[in-house]
């Protein structure tokens, strides 16, 4: 990822470069090392082929298989049904037949979608968890926690950078959450957000249910975002602080001479100078928050409050799909869609940042 962020030409050029064969003619070692070099690389290439490249291709294939069952390895051809199911465009009737949404009508009296199979109207059940919960939750998590944590981390690191006394101590304190276990600290936050917990006590909220089984979706999301931001800060602070320490002090001197106030210096010198790191952090944390899962497990302990799956994230859904042999291809479809979403977002960020990032 790091190198990707560095490439000047942006996302598309990166991929152009990727497939551009650069052959370096070197005076020293040269071609003699050829087969030896491959020996050095052999372990990595073998491991990656078995555990990365093959699974990647296989997962894509599985996503398109019809009625795939991994215990028997049997499927009945290729189809888009898995994607349609994930996207609520295909559902199943009581006898497990797949029915497409465009063949159904909504029956208000029955309160469900129905399908006329020629003889009678049958109820159709759609798998709504992804569109209803997982996707919105993932988006909320991403667009709330990423910007907020970047802004807070920037503020903290600028403050840290500006002080002399106690800098080391503060720096260490702010790094501590990095070395903790996401699940373990999630459980601590569950105690903090408990209906009879300390946060309700401090803010005088009585027995407000944040994350318990009776909690609303909003309050559980709020608690989750607070926890994710808390856990995301240390890495960002560390990166920003070391980047700040690398900025040529002369630009700050110049800003002083130019009578710029503190805020103006921050906006006009610090932020542009940090822009490569901000881009790097943005891309990595976007990817990270699209894959949020363990924080939900730690904090909530299950897929949602009130017996629903309302705290689903896309990855949570993918892992839930692994529980049954027949739902795996649906999980593969969801994972593939997640991959595409991540690619699109990364590409957008590269394009948008092209003119704003100064290397």
């Amino acid at each position: 990822m790091a190198a990707v962020a560095k490439k000047k030409g942006g996302f598309l050029d990166f991929f152009k470069n990727l497939f551009k064969r650069k052959e370096r003619v070197s005076a020293d070692a040269g071609e003699r090392n050829n087969w030896k070099a491959w020996l050095y690389l052999a372990p990595v290439i073998i491991l990656l082929s078995v555990f990365t490249f093959y699974p990647l291709i296989n997962t894509v294939v599985i996503a398109f298989l019809k009625d795939y069952d991994y215990t028997t390895q049997v499927s009945s051809g290729f189809t888009f049904d898995n994607f349609l199911t994930v996207l609520t465009l295909a559902g199943k009737d009581a006898s497990q037949n797949l029915v497409y949404k465009w063949n159904c009508t909504y029956d208000a009296a029955l309160g469900s979608w129905v399908y006329n199979n020629g003889t009678e109207l049958v109820k159709v059940y759609f798998q709504t968890d992804v569109l209803k919960y997982a996707l919105p939750n993932t988006m909320i998590i991403t667009f709330v926690t990423v910007p907020l944590s970047i802004i807070i981390a920037l503020l903290i690191s600028v403050c840290l950078h500006s002080i002399k006394a106690f800098q080391k101590i503060f720096q260490t304190i702010f790094f501590v959450p990095y070395v903790t276990n996401a699940v373990a600290v999630g459980m601590v936050f569950a105690v903090l957000f408990d209906s009879q917990g300390i946060l309700n006590y401090i803010f005088g909220l009585g027995t407000y249910y944040w994350i318990d089984q009776t909690a609303t979706h909003t309050s559980a999301m709020f608690a989750l975002c607070v926890y994710i931001i808390w856990h995301a800060l240390p890495y960002k602070i560390l990166i920003f602080l070391s980047a700040l320490q690398n900025i040529d002090k002369q630009y700050y001197d110049a800003a002083k001479i130019d009578c710029a106030g503190k805020f103006k210096t921050f906006m006009n010198v610090t932020v542009p100078m940090l822009s490569p790191q901000i881009l790097y952090i943005m891309i990595t944390s976007f990817i990270g928050s699209f894959k949020e899962y363990t924080s939900v497990v730690g904090l909530i302990g299950s897929a949602g409050t009130g017996g629903t799956n309302n705290m689903y994230t896309i990855v949570y859904y993918v892992y839930d799909c692994l529980k049954a042999p027949t739902t795996v291809s649906r999980g593969a479809a969801a994972a593939l869609m997640l991959f595409v979403i991540i690619m699109i977002f990364t590409a957008i960020q590269f394009q948008v940042s092209k003119r704003r990032v100064h290397y």
Binding site: A2, A3, K6, K36, I62, T180, V191, W230, L238, Y319
Partner: protein, 349 residues
């Protein structure tokens, strides 16, 4: 390209070019009325004398440092509070934890939570499993990383850049894509059956599960990248000198490069170990149904999440502390390596 497209858009919407806008601006009477020579430019504070400014500046400095320090202090409290609360909750009894008046220090310090944890939560087994998995996978990673980083940093071969780019590109792929197939692969191994643990081959199911938790993690593209950068900083003259001395690449790698890159290797070792300690998803999948093979994190979540009725927070927190403390100890002793290793990633892209 950029300029062309702008021109096109300008023509399309009949927008004015920069030059035209400027000419228009300069032609306006208001613009021409501006007399720059008679302007009195002053700093934000206006025209005060030096003594007043110095005083204001001193006050400003004090205020800004008060604000800075109180902000940092406030944030540190937020950062540290969960840890404090974890500790004191683990020492409280359930009634006190859920009392309507919260106490910031346990009324009676209760160690029994820890005893309960050791009785119900098989901490020692889990830690043993985790250490086994962590250390073997870390050592494997170090070996593959050193070899690959050396090849990328020092050797020349056809397609080097291409392979390196492909490796870096894999970091963008969400791991879930791989997990699905890997899970199926493990699940359909002939001698293995989830939840049953059928032993029907040269490996017992315990070995299989451990192998499944270790081998896929023997390679880390990110650390290869990190170490390659480090190797690249070692001057080429050393390599050439070693060649002149008749040392082989292999000797050079282990006698010169590895000792020189030791700090980075230590960072990688510790970070990777911490990663194993914290890994949750994959072990959770492959150890399903085999509680005795679980790693700490899985054990932690599953042991206490199913408690019916009043959650046993005191016991949960005691277990959480047991999981967190080793990490914190590692952090205290290797702070420099950890922070350097993590920080190095972001610098220089």
């Amino acid at each position: 390209m950029e300029y062309d497209s702008r021109n096109f858009i300008q023509k399309l919407f009949k927008m004015k070019s920069r030059e035209e806008k400027q000419a228009e601006r300069e032609a306006s009477p208001e613009y021409q009325a501006i007399d720059t020579s008679s302007m009195t430019l002053v700093i934000k504070e206006g025209r005060a004398n030096a003594a007043q400014l110095a005083k204001a500046q001193k006050v400003g400095r004090v205020i800004s440092s008060i604000i800075t320090y109180s902000f940092l202090l406030f944030m540190s409290v937020i950062i540290l509070f969960p840890f404090y609360w974890m500790i004191i909750t683990s020492l409280k009894n359930t009634t006190e934890i859920r009392a309507s008046v919260q106490t910031f220090f346990p009324a009676t310090v209760l160690w029994s939570n820890y005893i309960t944890v050791f009785n119900t939560f098989d901490f020692v087994t889990y830690v043993g499993n985790t250490l086994l998995v962590g250390i073997i996978s870390t050592i494997g990673t170090l070996i593959t990383t050193i070899l690959a980083a050396f090849a990328f940093a020092r050797l020349n071969f056809k397609g080097k850049d291409l392979i390196f780019a492909i490796l870096l590109a894999t970091m963008m792929i969400p791991g879930e894509m791989m997990v699905i197939t890997n899970y199926i692969t493990v699940a359909k191994l002939p001698w293995y059956e989830f939840g049953v643990g059928l032993v029907n081959g040269w490996l017992g199911y315990t070995d299989t599960i451990f192998a499944a938790m270790i081998i896929p993690f023997w390679v880390s593209v990110f650390y290869i990248y990190l170490l390659r950068q480090n190797f690249k900083q070692i001057p080429n003259e050393l390599y050439l000198a070693a060649k002149v001395d008749g040392k082989s690449d292999w000797q050079f790698l282990w006698h010169v490069m590895v000792p020189l890159a030791l700090p980075t290797l230590i960072s990688i070792f510790i970070l990777k170990l911490m990663g194993s300690w914290n890994s949750y998803v994959w072990p959770q999948l492959v150890t399903a149904g085999h509680d005795s093979l679980r790693l700490v994190t899985n054990g932690l979540r599953s042991s206490f999440s199913t408690t019916s009725g009043e959650p046993q927070y005191g016991i949960q927190m005691a277990a959480t502390i047991l999981v967190t403390v080793p990490l914190l100890l590692l952090f205290i002793f290797f702070r420099k390596y950890i922070m350097k290793g993590v920080g190095r990633a972001g610098i220089k892209g």
